[in-house]
């Protein structure tokens, strides 16, 4: 059991690890918020469209793999365009990985919840294989790739910190996603399909399967982009533990934001704070950091418990959407 001084010590460790120092805030928390924001926005879009993409983790990893391959193999040939090419490759890989689940859903009526989870495991094993097999660094000692060329790396936003321009990308995408969902025909179609696929089809003449597929692949693209940004902006190489579960945390991020992409900005920073704070607690006070995962789950349950209303409808209509191909 923790005694009173311990509690103070733990909270101090949390504070120092997350927000208490400018380096913890900028190089720790904000850097960590970037992937949460991107995958969170993608998850929010998919859920709004009635597509339960639980595969952000796998899509992020595949994006990381693709970005690494571009950064390692073609950085020289691409010159100044290498970063952008890496990020595009990441987004495309993420979209394609999600697209597998999309095809299984539209062609065979398989619940995307199960397929995206299975694809997470496949992706994790693929990364393990890649960093021990074809992509392993030349000495063949460490399970990781060589570092990518400097011209394939994202520029830093502030010197002397680890904060890279990826955060600008994430912010712009969050706001754009909000604009898309509320102001454009594409976004309204997704909301309509997510709330009532039958009405969207019969009264709006909407191609429900196509809209679901678009939403799923878009969310996959954002997760893949997040993976690309992690490689080009943070790790500069592919590791097995490229993602400490960003894909899962992002579900909590999206739900706490009530699937509003702009609110995702705040909830992503909130969960990043939780996670870096928990790491600080582990480092300085010996409290296991996985506590943060449990805390995220509790947040989901509390939010769903209190503000359930709109969620029921999403669940109810989901299968109908899967049934129409």
């Amino acid at each position: 059991m923790l005694s009173a001084p311990d509690v103070t010590q733990v909270l101090e460790a949390f504070w120092r690890g997350s927000l208490g120092t400018s380096s913890a805030l900028i190089s720790g928390t904000l850097v960590r918020a970037v992937p949460l924001m991107l995958v969170g926005v993608g998850t929010a879009i998919a859920f709004r469209a009635g597509v339960f993409n639980i595969g952000g983790e796998g899509q992020l990893l595949m994006g990381g793999v693709a970005a690494t391959v571009v950064g390692l193999q073609w950085a020289h040939a691409l010159g100044p365009g290498a970063v952008v090419a890496s990020l595009i490759a990441g987004a495309v890989a993420g979209a394609a990985w999600a697209g597998i689940a999309g095809i299984l859903r539209s062609r065979f009526g398989v619940l995307e919840v199960i397929t995206t989870i299975m694809l997470n495991f496949v992706a994790a094993n693929l990364v393990s294989y890649a960093v021990r097999g074809p992509l392993q660094e030349p000495t063949h000692i460490y399970p990781q790739t060589e570092t990518i060329a400097p011209n394939a790396r994202l520029p830093l936003l502030m010197s002397e910190t680890r904060l890279h321009v990826g955060i600008i990308v994430a912010l712009v995408i969050a706001v754009s996603a909000w604009w898309m969902m509320t102001r454009t025909a594409v976004g309204f179609r997704m909301r309509a399909v997510g709330t009532s696929p039958t009405a969207a089809r019969s009264s709006g003449r909407v191609d429900v399967a196509a809209v679901s597929m678009t939403a799923l692949m878009l969310s996959g693209a954002l997760a893949g982009l997040a993976g690309g940004i992690e490689v080009t902006g943070v790790t500069y190489a592919l590791y097995e533990n490229l993602s400490p579960g960003y894909g899962f945390s992002a579900i909590a991020v999206a739900i706490l934001a009530r699937l509003n992409p702009v609110a995702v900005i705040a909830t992503a920073v909130f969960f990043a704070t939780l996670e870096t704070g928990a790491l600080g607690m582990q480092r300085d006070a010996g409290v296991p950091s996985v506590v943060a995962t449990a805390l995220e789950a509790v947040v989901i349950l509390v939010v769903i418990g209190i503000a359930g209303g709109s969620w029921e409808r999403v669940a109810r209509t989901r299968d109908v959407a899967a049934a129409h191909d």
Partner: protein, 303 residues
């Protein structure tokens, strides 16, 4: 077949059955849950919760470990039942949250146990005389831990209960047409909630079997998707206990393949072999459409 080959095959089959046991237990529970119209995405959480509980309590004997594992799964299931059957919240989101919660809590508790023993005695193998001596298949079928025999009995009992009792009939009606069930005086919320708790408790037991009959230790995230695989096995088994029995063994073989690869000295990367069960799931789900699925599966009751 050469004697060496026969021994290898026998060992492989024995490992397959042993590996299939947790999957079979979890999937049998999930058949009951899904027949009541609910997909339990929290099943993975039940498995890890059961695994951890069995790991902690298993020192006092396998029976204690199994009971504690059942109880921890039931606790996760009770939470799911309250949210899904009573509060009518989305079963997928709540299930996902519970899986994350269980993974996080067990991980934290495990790391906090620095210095505590990391091994638990495993459940003894019960060898049935004569039958276990049958070449190739003997060990696979008649020299297994007690929990394997219990799992087989569970399949038989569940099938009988679903198709030959009024309670089973009522449960299936809830998953097909809650309105019709209600009109027949069946308490839909209660039946569905009970089905969730039952399936989750078996998910916990599956985790217990994983620790007490297979690994003898705990590792963070050791459920490794077994709860999700069980959901896939249910679909592959056409939502019937005997179908699940068959599908469970197919998956057991796929998972035991990693041991075979090592012992056969094949040059296939380990990571690629580990992918097989997950890829198999994807292929199996695509190949077998949801034709026989309970009509209300995954939908929230008022659809």
């Amino acid at each position: 077949m050469s004697p060496q080959r026969m021994t290898d095959t026998a060992a492989f089959l024995e490992a397959s059955v042993r590996t299939a046991t947790p999957l079979l237990i979890a999937a049998t529970g999930e058949v009951v849950t899904e027949r009541a119209g609910v997909i339990n995405i929290g099943l993975e959480g039940c498995v890890i919760a059961g695994a951890y509980t069995a790991f902690v309590t298993g020192v006092s004997g396998a029976a204690t470990g199994y009971l504690a594992a059942l109880a921890s799964g039931a606790l996760v299931g009770l939470t799911l039942a309250v949210f899904v059957s009573m509060l009518r919240r989305d079963q997928i989101i709540v299930g996902t949250a519970l899986t994350l919660l269980a993974l996080g809590v067990t991980g934290a508790l495990f790391r906090a146990r620095v210095g505590a023993p990391v091994v638990v005695p495993t459940d003894a193998v019960i060898t049935i005389p004569l039958l276990s001596a049958i070449p190739v298949l003997g060990a696979a079928l008649f020299a297994q831990p007690g929990i394997t025999y219990a799992a087989l009995a569970l399949v038989v009992a569940t099938s009988w209960w679903l198709y030959r009792t009024h309670a089973g009939l009522a449960l299936r009606a809830v998953g097909e047409s809650p309105d019709a069930a209600r009109a027949a005086g069946i308490r839909v919320t209660f039946v569905q909630g009970t089905a969730i708790v039952f399936g989750s408790a078996l998910g916990g037991l599956a985790g217990g079997a994983l620790v007490l009959a297979q690994t003898g230790t705990f590792a963070e995230g050791m459920s490794a998707g077994r709860g999700f695989l069980a959901i896939a096995i249910v679909a592959l088994g056409r939502w019937r206990p005997y179908g699940v029995l068959l599908a469970g063994f197919v998956f057991g073989i796929a998972m035991a393949f990693q041991f075979a690869v090592q012992s056969l000295g094949w040059h296939i990367r380990y990571e690629l072999v580990l992918m097989i069960p997950y890829l198999l799931t994807l292929v199996a789900l695509a190949a077998f459409r949801r034709g026989d699925a309970p009509a209300m599966l995954g939908r929230g009751e008022d659809a």
